[in-house]
Symmetry: C2
Subunit: 524 residues, 2 copies
């Protein structure tokens, strides 16, 4: 299943140990409590900023095992929104949920050579229970092709058993040793993995794209993150598969591309390996065609990276656990009676917001100042803040402050709910459009090597005409490593939406005839 | 978290390896395909029957690692119904979902002595990644107290941080070596675990019972399985906790009790161990009070055991993925036109059933006989079968056959939906009532040791007056082991609903003054 090819050492600080290199955890926590916000600016040190913001924004906590993170309720609720959407959509496609064991025997794990070659160095092995050594070590799944497919071979006998479409929501483990980054690259993560079998390649091709479209929607409609759908190069495709499709996002802060989610056509490779054969309508024997596809908690990390700013997270309304935080602001001159009335009205605001489907919360804690609260909910990225002060009490108004643009507007209390509903839509749309504009501005088009390194170092992604060969990709890797200290470039994808390729266009690096445009970048 | 105390070797056949002792898997699969149903009768060999029915009923598949099972979509969908209910209810109680890492370091795992003593022999250890030995082995969580609570100590600083109420849905591993049984006792299983912290014991006490009530509802309202809510004895309580409450079910086929789900008050024991302290309103320091509670995929196994019969599973409508299976029965005399009409009407039936919220499915496959289909859906436990034959086509009627009672009734097609909706309610109710009657008939009341073994061997649970001491429980264990080959009896719970205990009543086994009635039985 979707495995991000190991990126070469991004030059960001290691975000894993709050006591060492990472500035996150303890420090950021303290900042939050003292109301001072983040100590690092996003554009000064993106890696340090990120490792702070995920803690200060209440998303994760660091853990005493490197590369493992605690997903706190604020982050987990966001994951649940994505799950709900995707789960509903795949059920519409008649995919069924199931659960396969987390453990896999060595013999099965190692059945497919290309596949295991890619995963082997990262597999965690259980060798002992209590004080007893196991007779044979067992692996913790890094993905479930080899867990599931031996059973597909048993279950699929006739063409009537096809298609078989299963999905599971689970944890997987890839014990990578380099640069863990919360959400983006962790040793244990959560995902869904879909595994389907069909009687024809044509059906597989259709499903690969249907699922990719759902991944595009996860990013663009929910996370407000624009993505480029496309096909992976031979070098970057899923090990053991036929071809890989992907949605690729762009992180302006680091200038890197990031593989968002992948949908693979596995062809008949695993079917051969595990002997997944069926009797067709005419009584003959055929091998099935297979797909696998997955998206992970990485999705959330991409969103935090794309939208966050120096004051913390900025959450798109569709995945914000709280969309509107209501903060009454009594002052010392207010009578007790007026204070009580203020509280009542604020409570009523929340109620009617909730009734209208706007997730809202009242923060009327008396041990924090309004300033502290503003700061706190800004760090957490809540899309709208509703301020309700002493003057508002007189005028029957309140102020809505947008997290994304900092714009403030005064509205009548009776219009609050309607306006917040509108703003949920508006903010979602605006955040996506802004991110798209920035992303588009950071894709440059080059037809020769000239300017390639400059563009990379200026945090750009680069579109070039390409001959689509492994050697040329290796060449780009080598040259970019040699000519810049910022790390190698690789292909992100061959976008499905291709600019016109005029006859006679040459590959930007080899000079051979180009067959497509491809997107290059540094990558997570 | 809830750990079933290890039962002493039930005398059922090992259900784990379809090629060896277990009669399930391959064989049952074959039976199903040839339409012959189960080869073992429930009352002749309950263990063998169970290991067949879980495969023939399409719930699980055996796996090449002992004690691990594949949850197929038919079972997993049932788990999803339970999850939806429970998740919604705990969110109402302001519990938040989160996700903690699966791995735990030895130092944390072993911090609480009583706790780890109970779990240590069953802990799976990861010692290697790829070909590299880890510096320190790490454990796969058997439960998450020691994973979570060090962080509770960091997060909870003030009384304003309380209560803290977290839950996670995840997998856990307990590498038990004896008698794995699908759903009931497996090495990896799925569950939810709730972990809460309060400033007072009183709040804990309330929550323990609120959660237990939800567990009662899972069993009684969803699974149609009656349970006895009560308190565990000191011997049987959760290791490291203060007291444990439980819902106990009864499996007539084996005559055993089974711990359904547990809700623990942990007191301040873990708080002491992990130093979970907060500043109270007066500026003093206090330790928190804690609960933990969980239910697992075992719930499903209990349901299959309680309701299943010689023809397969019997599912209560509330957790049946298909509540009504519609089977058209064309015969050879029907014209093509009439056959087509039959199919159209049957399709319409499904549509209107679905529209009315009755989960239904059309089985109009032409490569299976109606008899085969009846058999197939009976094995899977579908509550209602709608038969629609050639004569029905003329009369505008169809026949509803109940899975639970085998009763058949003819209804007009236009009344089908309404009747099926009614029957969903009725079957659910009837199944529960029947199970309760059987359970009640199998609880005997004894005031002395006389007849205890006879009752056990007659598959009864036994209520006795009791002095509530560990020694007396040990004594019963010893005597029951000595006097019968059927295995030891243990306390299931001290039911919350207590019969009157007349003054001067003696403990049935020690003759000391009795302080309560307790429920004994053999147990899973």
């Amino acid at each position: 299943m979707p495995k991000a090819k190991a990126a070469k050492a991004p030059k960001e600080k290691k975000a894993d140990d709050p006591n060492k290199s990472a500035p996150g955890a303890g420090k950021a926590e303290k900042k939050k409590e003292t109301g001072l916000g983040l100590s690092t600016k996003r554009d000064e040190d993106f890696g340090a900023w990120y490792s702070q913001v995920v803690v200060a924004g209440d998303l994760i906590d660091y853990y005493d095992i490197s590369g493992c993170y605690i997903l706190k309720p604020w982050a987990y609720a966001q994951w649940e929104y994505l799950k709900e959407f995707f789960d509903r959509e795949i059920k519409e496609l008649e995919v069924e949920n199931c659960y396969f064991p987390m453990f896999v025997s060595a013999s099965r794990l190692e059945a497919e050579k290309d596949h295991i070659e890619d995963f082997a160095p990262e597999v965690a092995w259980v060798t002992r229970s209590g004080n007893t050594d196991l007779e044979v070590p067992i692996a913790v799944r890094p993905t479930s092709e080899t867990v599931m497919y031996p059973h597909y071979a048993q279950w699929i006998r006739s063409h009537r058993d096809l298609p078989l479409r299963l999905n599971q929501w689970c944890n997987v483990v890839r014990w990578e040793f380099k640069h863990p980054t919360p959400f983006i690259r962790s040793r244990e993560f959560l995902w869904q993995e879909g595994h389907t079998a069909y009687s024809s390649k044509a059906e597989c091709d259709v499903e690969v794209r249907q699922i990719l479209e759902l991944y595009r929607r996860v990013y663009e409609e929910y996370l407000a993150v624009p993505v480029v759908p496309g096909k992976k190069s031979e070098k970057e495709k899923f090990a053991g598969g036929d071809y890989t499709t992907t949605v690729e996002a762009y992180v302006p802060g680091s200038g890197r591309g990031v593989q968002g989610a992948t949908s693979h056509c596995l062809g008949q490779n695993f079917a051969k390996m595990f002997n997944i054969e069926y009797e067709d309508a005419k009584g003959g024997r055929s091998l099935v065609w297979q797909n696998s596809w997955g998206f992970t908690t990485r999705t959330l990390g991409v969103m935090y990276m794309v939208h966050g700013d120096d004051d913390g997270l900025v959450l798109p309304p569709k995945v914000a656990p709280v969309q509107a935080i209501v903060i009454p602001i009594p002052n010392s001159k207010l009578s007790d009676e007026a204070k009580q009335k203020m509280d009542e009205i604020a409570t009523g605001m929340c109620k009617s917001l909730k009734a209208a489907g706007v997730r809202s919360k009242l923060d009327n804690r008396d041990n924090y100042t309004p300033g502290w609260k503003y700061n706190h909910w800004e760090l957490k990225g809540v899309p709208m803040r509703v301020e309700f002060g002493a003057r508002d009490l007189e005028t029957g108004t309140c102020v809505i402050a947008r997290r994304d643009t900092r714009e403030k507007e005064t509205v009548k209390i009776e219009d609050l709910t309607k306006r917040c509903s509108e703003l949920c839509e508006q903010i979602q749309k605006d955040m996506f459009e802004r991110a798209r504009k920035i992303r588009d501005e950071n894709i440059v088009s080059l037809t020769s090597w000239d300017g390639f390194i400059e563009a990379l170092d200026a945090k750009k992604l680069i579109m070039t005409p390409w001959c689509n060969t492994k050697d040329s990709e290796e060449l780009v890797k080598k040259k970019s490593t040699a000519e810049s200290t910022g790390g190698a470039a690789k292909t992100l994808c061959i976008p499905f939406e291709q600019p016109a390729l005029e006859a006679g266009t040459k590959c930007f690096i080899t000079g051979e005839p180009a067959t497509c445009w491809v997107l290059w970048g540094r990558s997570y």
